[in-house]
Symmetry: C2
Subunit: 235 residues, 2 copies
Amino acid sequence: MVSHDGAGVDPQQLWLGTARTGRGRKPAFSRAAITAAAVALADAEGLDAVTMRRVAAEVGAGVMSLYSYAPDKETLLELMVDHVSGELPADEPLTGDWRADLKAIGHLQRALMLRHPWLPAALTTRRTLGPHALAFLERALAALRPTRLDGAAKLEVFSQLTGFVAGHVGYEIAQSAAAEAPGRAAAEARYLAAVAADGHHPELAAALAAPGRPLTPEATFTRFLDRLIDGLDTG
Amino acid sequence: MVSHDGAGVDPQQLWLGTARTGRGRKPAFSRAAITAAAVALADAEGLDAVTMRRVAAEVGAGVMSLYSYAPDKETLLELMVDHVSGELPADEPLTGDWRADLKAIGHLQRALMLRHPWLPAALTTRRTLGPHALAFLERALAALRPTRLDGAAKLEVFSQLTGFVAGHVGYEIAQSAAAEAPGRAAAEARYLAAVAADGHHPELAAALAAPGRPLTPEATFTRFLDRLIDGLDTG
DNA sequence: AATATTTCCGTACACTGTACGAGAATAGTC
DNA sequence: GACTATTCTCGTACAGTGTACGGAAATATT
């Protein structure tokens, strides 16, 4: 096993790492390089493109060599999540206005997920507590310091915030993906119009008839995030 | 092709259906039965257990026979989503208090997702507008009637609400799944304690030291949902 | 009876994650 | 320098995936 070890019964041993003994062949690759290649692949071609063979090819390794750096694919996905979490600034100063700070955190998370559109889907199934995620959590907890929420409540708030952002951006991405294929979008519009015209969906018909000005996803996100955070009890 | 047709360039043709000509061999199965079998499988063993072979076996068909009822697996998944959406009551009377009605809708969605734990994950990638989903959307729009939001804004609210619930329940499920494997949970607790003890995570250490009383997921959900909805502009 | 149409499904193929184990490279010991 | 223990590399192999293809069976129309 390579220096930053991982396998074993204990799932969190992944992040602790074990020292190399010195003995044995030197590793030709690195966990970071492999993870970065996997992330690049997911960014460019989606999560489905991340296959062990593709990642290995990208990094110049044999397929089975990857298993010296991560015990299985699931672990590689967790590494990917924590890897991109490293893009979140974890040490910028806080304003002291915890609501503003929390909103900024939400916007940072959204930006990250837009940069890595596979992230919302990856987060729905996984809970990752790697070093980068923890550093960011630490920052969020610091932001919540002025609130007098107890420990569990603070952790809840962070969890919920992340869940909310993932849910929102997931939808946002699905929406924009549909919009990028103009044929699809038109077909959907036609379908909705047909449904609205069937007489059984008067509210939908009304909603489609009175569209209002189009909303930018950014504005919508901000509005919902603000409502969510402004409504939080200070404990 | 079987009566409720689906294939084609137009994705929404799925839901429209085409009449059988009468000519040709009679279908031995039905789209509904196949979908129900797939849903039962996902409920019992998770989304990964839903393979074309397993579904076919469950329903007593040859594998390739499924392709007469759904052009591909992605379509089967969309059918599954709309199938369970049919469990949402779409015609119960509304109270007229749109905030209360909207909260009730959120709770219904959460209950549905808890009954079908694969649903949040399935919704992250997919946007489904089958008849059942549309019926429920119609109801949500009716609930929003007293607000004077324009059509686009109403649709946004529903989208966001669904995204929020999916995000929350996704986390809720991950949490409870971790709690069900006691070894895992203990290992994670030990890991977090170790991280908290490293001196670089003082806020985390403090949060773990002052746990407060445990929060039920139900109560947390209600609190966040209330905040979200109470904060909505009436337009 | 012939024909057109539709469904049923066995076979086959490319692709997936990964178990196994043989070989290569390194460090420590004599 | 030879030997040994250890560690990493990766070719091969296998079970499992979605689904393309095409022949056989069943039905309604002619």
